[in-house]
């Protein structure tokens, strides 16, 4: 789970990246709980997240790619 991330598009239009903690919940349970209600999300590998944050606030995501679920 430490190698996974959950991404969704927040209300500001930015890409939000959820970093799961080792709390006893599965990545799916964390996604369902911590992704805002109604927001579509996708679970990706940590390697898929850019490490260069110079333009962090300019990151975008295609909503059509957020296919793993919707925040509960």
């Amino acid at each position: 789970m430490q190698n996974k991330r959950i991404i969704y598009q927040n209300d500001e239009g930015n890409v939000a990246v959820i970093i799961p903690a080792d709390c006893g919940l599965t990545i799916e349970e964390i996604a369902a709980k911590d992704v805002p209600t109604g927001k579509a999300y996708k679970i990706v590998d940590v390697a898929d997240i850019p490490t260069d944050r110079q333009w962090r606030n300019e990151w975008t995501v295609d909503e059509a790619d957020l296919t793993d679920g919707v925040g509960a």
Partner: protein
């Protein structure tokens, strides 16, 4: 002598004389050497007439016994001294396998026999007699056993079943079973007697049991009308004169008190009327059973009192090492605390260590250790623990280093994060505190809530601001939440 030679008269006479001596048909044209040579002889000559013929034949290595034998006569096998072979001997020899050895163990074993060396009790085997063994299975008629038939006939009643077996004394099985069923009830003791045998003495209405040594009867109960009075060590229980005089035994004056619906109790204490009871085991109150433990002061009534159950190596309460007790918290009602104590020194009275109050609070007088971690606060000010915390790296690949009650951290953008709680707070009125350092190692930074950002029972949004009042990703962000 040549004919044309000149001879004298004497020669002629001599010749004539010789001629007259020659036999008719004699061979006259051979020399003496030729005539004497055995190779020119014809016919046969007995061997016996030839001197030294035997040694000549033996010495010759070319003389054969017979041509057909093909072996030298000099080396031919001579008949043994015990006599020559006879017909049939060769057949016997032909039936013996090549290199046969009659002492070979394998051959002997194959033939089903044993070598002497294989038998450990050789002497016994050789001296064994057929009368020494009995057949493996056999039958023997009863009639052939002296006295057996008669003995059996005396035990069985003709036409009856086995329950009527009778011993030599005429004691039948039916009699024995009947005695067992009635605990040998009778006016006289059973005969014979056995250890632990029961006997109901109908003369005295006493139930007795035979002692271990089978030497005497011990009374265990007395039939009293339709009931029974038990005995202990030969004396009836329930009689005032036999009550024990120590604090640990039953003191009730009447056993019937134990079964009473309203007064059931069994007190243990000193026999002396002036000494307070140490332990009242049970008392029925409002259909519930209550155990009361009274201390040496005998507290009761409307005064506050304490009671203890002591545990330790001594049978004296004052010397026990620890205790579970009760403490009356109010003179009215039944507000009583459960207390636990230990005895730090044998000379000291046990000290209270933990208390569960009548209101349900758990109070510990010393430090608290949970899974080896000790909580040891000083003073008496109440403590309110941290309900959630997290330490994470906000730069590069954002990652959580550690935390508690935090399920995840949401990276919303530069210096902008949301901490999500695993278990929700009771409300959103919690306090948040944070610290960290920026990318330059400066710790004079601000970690606070985002203006207008989320602060709910399940999550709190924070921002990391550097010393220049600019939002920045911090390599170390530490936040705590208290409620």
């Amino acid at each position: 002598m040549p004919y044309n030679s000149i001879h004298t008269g004497e020669d002629i006479d001599a010749g004539i004389s010789k001629t007259q001596g020659v036999a008719s048909n004699a061979t006259a044209n051979a020399t003496d050497a030729q005539l004497r040579d055995r190779g020119t002889h014809t016919g046969t000559q007995p061997l016996s007439s030839i001197s030294d013929a035997g040694s000549a034949a033996t010495a010759s290595t070319e003389d054969f016994a017979t041509a057909a034998q093909g072996s030298l006569a000099d080396t031919a096998q001579q008949p043994p001294t015990e006599g020559a072979f006879v017909d049939g001997d060769k057949t016997k020899l032909d039936n013996i396998e090549a290199s046969a050895d009659v002492t070979d163990t394998a051959n002997v074993t194959s033939a089903g026999a044993l070598m002497d060396s294989e038998v450990t009790n050789l002497a016994q085997v050789k001296s064994f007699d057929s009368s020494d063994y009995a057949p493996a299975a056999h039958t023997q008629a009863i009639s052939t056993v002296t006295g057996l038939q008669g003995a059996l006939d005396g035990k069985l009643v003709s036409g009856s079943n086995i329950s009527l077996l009778t011993n030599d004394s005429g004691f039948t099985t039916n009699t024995a079973l009947s005695a067992i069923a009635t605990n040998n009830a009778g006016s006289s003791e059973p005969n014979p007697t056995f250890a632990h045998m029961l006997w109901f003495d109908t003369n005295n209405d006493l139930m007795k049991v035979r002692n271990e040594a089978n030497s005497a009867w011990v009374i265990v109960a007395k039939k009293d009308g339709s009931g029974w009075t038990p005995y202990r060590q030969g004396t009836a229980l329930g009689t005032a004169s036999v009550q024990p005089d120590n604090r640990y035994a039953h003191r009730s004056n009447n056993l019937s008190d134990l079964g009473s619906a309203t007064t059931a109790r069994a007190n243990l204490g000193l026999a002396s009327a002036n000494s307070p009871e140490k332990l009242r085991v049970v008392e029925e109150v409002n259909n519930s059973m209550v155990a009361q433990f009274i201390n040496s002061a005998g507290s009761s009534g409307d005064t506050l009192g304490k009671g203890y159950i002591g545990f330790g190596i001594s049978n004296s309460f004052e010397e026990t090492g620890c205790y579970i007790g009760w403490d009356q918290e109010s003179v009215s009602g039944y507000q009583q605390a459960l207390t636990f104590g230990t005895r730090p020194d044998i000379e000291e009275f046990p000290t209270e260590r933990m208390r569960i109050t009548s209101g349900g609070d758990v109070q510990i007088t010393k430090s608290l250790s949970v899974k080896g971690a000790t909580l040891d606060p000083g003073g008496t000010a109440p403590m309110h623990a941290c309900r959630a915390w997290v330490n994470f790296n906000g730069t590069g690949t954002v990652a959580i280093r550690g935390g508690g009650n935090v399920s995840s951290v949401t990276d919303n953008g530069v210096g902008d994060y949301t901490v999500n709680f695993t278990t929700a707070m009771q409300d959103a009125n919690y306090a948040m505190s944070g610290s960290g350092e920026d990318t330059g190692g400066v710790k004079d930074v601000l970690i606070g809530r985002t203006n207008g950002g989320t602060k709910t029972t399940t999550a709190c949004r924070i921002k990391t601001v550097n010393a220049g009042a600019n939002v920045e990703d911090f390599p170390s962000v530490e936040v705590m939440f208290f409620r």
